[in-house]
Amino acid sequence: MRRVAGLLASVALTLLGLLLVTFLIGRVVPIDPVLAAVGDRANAETYERMRQELGLDLPLWQQFGLYVADVARGDLGTSVLTSRPVLEDVARVFPATLELATAAVIIGVVLGIPAGVMAAVHRGRWPDHLVRVLGLVGYSVPVFWLGLVGLLLFYAKLDWAPGPGRLDVFYDGLVDPVTGILTVDALLAGETEIFWNALSHLVLPASILGYFSIAYISRMTRSFMLDQLRQEYITTARVKGLSETRVIWRHALGNIAVPLITVVALSYATLLEGSVLTETVFAWPGLGQYITNSLLSADMNAVLGGTLVVGAVFIGLNLLSDLLYRLLDPRARR
């Protein structure tokens, strides 16, 4: 119990640190946030009014104090760009990213783990090389380029996939946003046609994004697996005459399941924040695009809010995998 309290305290500290860093970055950027809000041609009076509205006439420490107090109340301030509460904005765009990242991580797990296992079992032979090469490509090719090539090939040339965006144009706005996750909303509304449309729009960007998580997950799986295959209990199992399949999938994989959860959680967190470029190429209106836009227009409240949410998600997922680890791994409960 005390351990959990300690854990939570460190989480709170991490969050506070995150707040401070983003806040300071926001203040040292050589961009005038007032200017960003009122535009280049506002008169002096309008400018000054906005400066006060944004609280920029106060000393820095006071601004930070106010900011932390607001955040504690769940108030992330108002976005200059959309004139709506940042929290509402983030809640509106986050589901799109969640949907994309979830689809990508599913692809990453379904293909990455078997690929990693295969590479480990056939160490040094062609399946291993194949997985390694694919992983290397995943690491070195920019997602931006891969996304455009994917669009060119599957959308423009072959017509297998629909174009950018979350839906075909004429389906836009037909389903009430309940969760904000279009595929789920469409099912809830019983609109199967829209569901299929949303799903088809999801496949290509999720595959592109998923490819990068396949690379990471398969590499980690491979090294965990190699570690296990050297252990004595594997030899024992083989000597006992268990089938190879059973040895690999039940014994070895069962033993690496727990560290794999951590890997998947981390990969998921990375996908949640790392989809910026994918979102740009596919015109996918998610958190990544929102933060990018906010940065480009010096909308500091939105940048801070968005970053905070990303940080919180990251910390949350870390915490979750930590707790799962303790729960599932008997050795950690000592």
């Binding site: 050589p30 200017l35 296992v117 079992v121 174009g163 144009v169 299929w196 496949v203 695009q289 480009l296």
Partner: protein, 537 residues
């Protein structure tokens, strides 16, 4: 082992097949957009508000032009022709200070409310009292939040009276009334949605209350803007029942969508994408000259750049023609005066050509026979960056070494407004269609002190010009249009020959449109791009 490998491969294939069918069973992308809807791909992430009293960005202004109307309009093919709008006629008193507008009868707002002079009075007062960024276009006639209720009033439901503080040139006043900030809103509807005396601005940011050919259906910031036709529009409802504008940030993605026919119009293609499209029979490129100018400016706080010969030399170190052909590739025409072509009194002479030898002579006369070194602040976007690099190369021919400092647009602007730059390269677009808008910024600097509040472009480059400032101020009071035009011609020639400004190009907007779409109007400013007459085959 082999059996295992096989089963594993099998599993992988099954997984791939599942993913594959997801793609395969996708509803086939329709070859075309719906016949009664216009679909556009555009970067419109600059929209901050949809309230016409606050809109001051290019894409916002274009939205405002579809949804709201003004008292006065002008001919998109000839900016110098002022036309009736919601006011069908007007009179100016003999002393030049009182304007009486006759409001058009029978115009309805989207809500069904009748549009009256009271709505017009409310709208102008509202814009003045809200005092957002574009409010200066109206407050320059002496309106303040305290006096505007007396100065702008409806004497009956069909008559609006407006009193200015001085006898301005009538064209100046009327052109300002064609600006978006002078849009007429549905007073009843806006007042119904007022919260804590905010003039309904919170509500109007995401709703519409206009009388234009379209009404707002839905806006999602940086995602989508959807308009519905207003069948009751007084000049006839649009044939497009709906306009869907999608925010597509990446030009390459825009081009893919356009070529597939998933959008009808792509707004942000780059010059290098034009060539292949010119050959396409499904797509045509429209070239619409806009009022925006590209210029470089030389900060007079830098003692080298403050020398008149150096200012002159810089004019000969820009390779105008080469840039027009390569970087601009249709996105601009060479222009060297501060009034864009089409404005009252615009000068179209182009006295300067790339001439490094001449520049060298001038630099030698200034005491820099071997040139000098300066920095240039550049927004890291295309085509600004490409232009800066070309100028860097052409200026080097006379020994002028320009170090480029790439930065984000907002950062460049922050620095520019603090007068901390050497050379700035950028754009300037007129705020309304009267010559005063540009004269005021290029040729007027009322207070050159560092704390000067009027941050005109002349001020930002520390160019102290009491005489030109006076001349600019008197030009708006000249009621004879011919004389007024002559004054602006003089001002332009002075600025052209000897100022910190090297004006280079006038921008041309190049939207790419599917050939089955006709009737879109691409006017001289963003708020004269009109969708009402668009048809689709």
């Amino acid at each position: 082992m082999d059996k295992f490998a096989r089963s594993l491969m099998g599993a992988a294939f099954v997984a791939l097949a599942v993913v594959g069918t997801g793609v395969g069973t996708a509803t086939p992308a329709l070859a075309d957009t719906p016949k009664d809807a216009l679909v556009m791909a555009w970067q419109f992430d600059d929209i901050i508000s949809l309230d016409p009293a606050e809109i001051f960005e290019l894409s916002g202004a274009e939205y405002g032009a579809q949804v709201y109307e003004r008292l006065i309009s002008y001919d998109v093919n000839d900016v110098s022709r002022i036309l009736p709008g919601l006011a069908e006629s007007w009179e100016v008193s003999d002393d030049g200070k009182t304007y009486t507008f006759k409001i058009r009868d029978g115009v309805k707002f989207h809500s069904g409310n009748a549009l009256t002079a009271e709505d017009a009075a409310y709208s102008l007062r509202r814009a003045v009292k809200l005092n957002k960024s574009p409010a200066f276009i109206l407050t320059q006639f002496g309106f303040t939040k305290d006096n505007v209720d007396q100065k702008v009033r409806a004497t009956d439901s069909g008559t609006l009276v407006m009193e200015t503080d001085q006898a301005y040139a009538p064209t100046f006043v009327l052109y300002c009334l064609t600006a978006g900030v002078a849009s007429i809103v549905d007073a009843k509807l806006v007042q119904e949605n007022e919260k804590d005396g905010d003039f309904g601005t919170t509500w109007l940011k995401t709703n519409s209350a206009g009388s234009g050919p379209f009404k707002l259906r839905q806006w999602k910031a940086s995602e989508m803007l959807m308009l519905d036709a207003f069948p009751g529009y007084w000049q006839g409802g649009p044939s497009m029942k709906r306009v869907i504008i999608r925010h597509i940030p990446e030009p390459a993605t825009q081009r893919l969508l356009l070529e597939k026919g998933d959008v009808d119009v792509a707004r942000n293609l780059k010059p290098e994408q034009f060539e292949p499209l010119r050959a396409s029979k499904d797509i045509r490129l429209v070239e619409a000259p806009k009022g925006t100018l590209w210029y470089i400016s030389l900060n007079q706080k830098n003692e080298i750049l403050a020398k008149p010969e150096v200012r002159k030399a810089m004019r000969y170190l820009v390779d105008y023609d080469a840039m027009r052909g390569s970087i601009m590739n249709g996105l601009g025409t060479v222009h060297q005066a501060f009034l864009p072509k089409g404005f009252l009194g615009a000068v179209e002479d182009k006295p300067f050509k790339y001439d490094p030898a001449k520049a060298r002579e001038l630099l030698a006369a200034a005491g820099y026979p071997d040139g000098f070194t300066v920095t240039m602040d550049v927004r890291n976007t295309s085509p600004t960056m490409d232009m800066a690099q070309t100028i860097q190369a052409s200026a080097a021919a006379a020994g002028v070494k320009i170090e480029l400092l790439p930065m984000d647009g907002k950062q460049a602007l922050t620095k520019y407004r603090a007068r901390n730059q050497d050379i700035y390269i950028g754009q300037w677009g007129p705020d309304y269609q009267d010559p005063h808008t540009n004269a005021e910024t290029f040729a007027s600097n009322p207070n050159n002190a560092d704390d000067g509040t009027s941050k005109t472009l002349a001020w930002r480059n520390a160019w102290d010009i009491p005489e030109l400032t006076g001349k600019t101020a008197s030009a708006v009071l000249e009621r004879d249009a011919g004389k007024r035009a002559a004054t602006y011609q003089e001002l332009q020639k002075t600025v052209m020959e000897d100022s910190p400004f090297v004006v280079m190009f006038q921008q041309v907007e190049v939207p790419a449109v599917r050939t089955n779409v006709e009737g879109l109007v691409w006017g001289p400013s963003f708020d004269t791009n009109l969708y009402r007459l668009a048809t689709k085959k």
